[in-house]
């Protein structure tokens, strides 16, 4: 996920850099208010923790490994603003000190790995919390499912950026299908790890978990082992369903291309479409015959990412609850 320099077009790098700097500035303003002097070291510890956790790769499928992104975990533990800042710091340090991720790619790397995962994960967490029981198990389950969703959102965000700034002649559909498909699997790993880490923290220091602050003392004490297992299984199931649906969606387009290519003997020239080719990268749409479908996929994914991330930002800004650690 740590894209190097030159992976997307400079225009996308610039736009995402401006976006990320804007969100970071907002985050610093919010966090400056929320984050007492005392929490700064704790934010640093959390960043170090996520950095260390990102070094642990787990097997996904045939030869692919994934690692924790940690955005949703940070958001549930520290609140969305501080969580976003913490993961951004991880991404920035990785680029500055470890050459992991390009310096000019920081804009989209921060956007995809920190901002989208923290706010998207937070919004998903709030939604999931509503359907889960008001116990610590419910918080753990909601956090786990939200973590899985956040990874898929991150992959979708990257694919959408690819639509605007592809640097290689690989169609959007292929990238979307591959990215989202692989990240559904990585999302399962993220969900399991986030759930287990959260449950370990909830077991010993529930006061450290911002996402559990709505629970009363009794609700926390309620011994519910209901949480873990069913929710993890449920999240895996949900991820598989989403993955199957998305891969069907994405795969139908290349098939369509093949059929058209056979029928017309490659006679079909690059057709103009109503969106014009100036906005979207020529690469990402070139060679895809069924542009309306791939744009529909991009659109739906874009709406999902925007709604969740925007919802996360909104609810985070509105939350009057300030973190007060005794």
């Amino acid at each position: 996920m740590h894209a190097p320099d030159g992976f997307l077009q400079p225009s996308v790098a610039l736009v995402t850099a401006i976006l990320s700097i804007g969100v970071l500035a907002l985050g610093l303003r919010h966090a400056g208010r929320e984050l007492g002097d005392r929490q700064v070291p704790l934010a640093g510890v959390a960043a170090a923790f996520i950095f260390a956790a990102q070094m642990v790769n787990f097997p996904v499928a045939a030869g692919t490994t994934g690692h924790l992104l940690g955005g949703a975990l940070a958001a549930v533990l520290l609140g969305p603003w501080v969580g976003m800042l913490v993961v951004s710091v991880v991404v920035i340090v990785q680029a500055l000190l470890f050459a992991d991720g390009g310096l000019t790619a920081l804009g989209y790397n921060t956007l995809n790995m920190a901002i989208v995962t923290a706010f998207g994960g937070w919004a998903a967490f709030l939604l999931m919390r509503k359907v889960m029981p008001r116990t610590s198990g419910g918080v753990v389950g909601a956090g786990a499912v939200a973590a899985g969703i956040s990874v898929v959102l991150s992959a979708a965000a990257f694919s959408i950026e690819w639509l605007f700034g592809a640097s290689a002649p690989v169609a959007f559909d292929t990238v979307f299908g591959a990215m989202v498909g692989v990240h559904v699997l990585i999302g399962i790993g993220e969900a399991v790890l986030t759930g287990l880490v959260l449950s370990a923290v909830m077991a010993s220091r529930p006061d450290l978990v911002i996402g559990a602050q709505h629970l009363t003392h009794d609700e926390l004490a309620a011994k519910s082992r209901v949480g873990m297992r069913p929710f993890l299984i449920g999240s895996v199931f949900a991820a598989v369903v989403v993955g199957v649906v998305i891969s069907q969606f994405a795969a139908s387009s290349p098939d369509g291309l093949e059929r058209v290519a056979i029928d017309n003997g490659f006679a079909e020239s690059a057709s103009d479409h109503i969106f014009g080719s100036s906005v979207f990268s020529d690469y990402a749409t070139a060679g895809v015959s069924n542009e309306s479908l791939s744009l529909a996929v991009a659109g739906i994914a874009g709406i999902a990412v925007t709604l969740l991330v925007g919802g996360g930002v909104l609810s985070a800004s509105r939350s009057v609850r300030r973190r007060q650690m005794a």
Partner: protein, 255 residues
Amino acid sequence: MSGAHGSTVSRIFIPGDSRIHRLPSETKLVAVVAAVVVMAVTPRQEVVAFVLYAVGAWSVIAMTGIGLATYVKRLAVIIPFVLFAVIVPFLGGGESVQVVGVSLSVDGLWATWNILVKAGLGATLSIALSATTRVPELLHGLTRLRVPRLLVAIIAFMLRYIDVLVEQLGRMRRSMVARGHDPRWLWQVKPIASSAGALFVRSYERGERVHQAMLARGYSGVMPVVTDRQASLREWLSVMLYPLVFVVVLVVAVM
């Protein structure tokens, strides 16, 4: 167990006394970012420009004296994306060329070149920066470049704790293995993640204790600057010559 092993962060800086080592960190930071930006916006067909950039980037690596082996080892971080770049010519459409009987997309080959050269050279300059700048100097450089203090403070604590955490993780893993645990398979993810949770709580509590100790010693939210050496105008000008050369190469190439 501490210090001597020096796992992740403490190994990034490679002691030395090259000209690059002695430059004020903020000038290095700005010069590297500027040079990488110039490379990133260079059109990929300007092969000569990239050859000159490579000469420029490698001469900096040579000046740092970090050694070829270290450089190559650190460059390995871009491998996942290199793998992606290498398969592109097989996926890409459009015009194709025959190379030993395999049809490769011309556009795809250009894309591979583009990703490889930009990622490689960008990483090269980042490596030159991080290998020659001590972490505290880098943080002071960031502060002098007006990066918000809160952000720098979080970065500082993070870098301080990475090694602590990694070492603690190692100890926990060792003790698990000593008790007959073999953390290799996916279904053993629970003990791994549980130890990760325990690790988080422990480091969090350690952070609380350390912070109280810092407060007791007069910490006011900002780390004291021991050697505050601002870059002089002359230093700025001489360092900025470096990205300027890149800009000149770009302008000449495009014209």
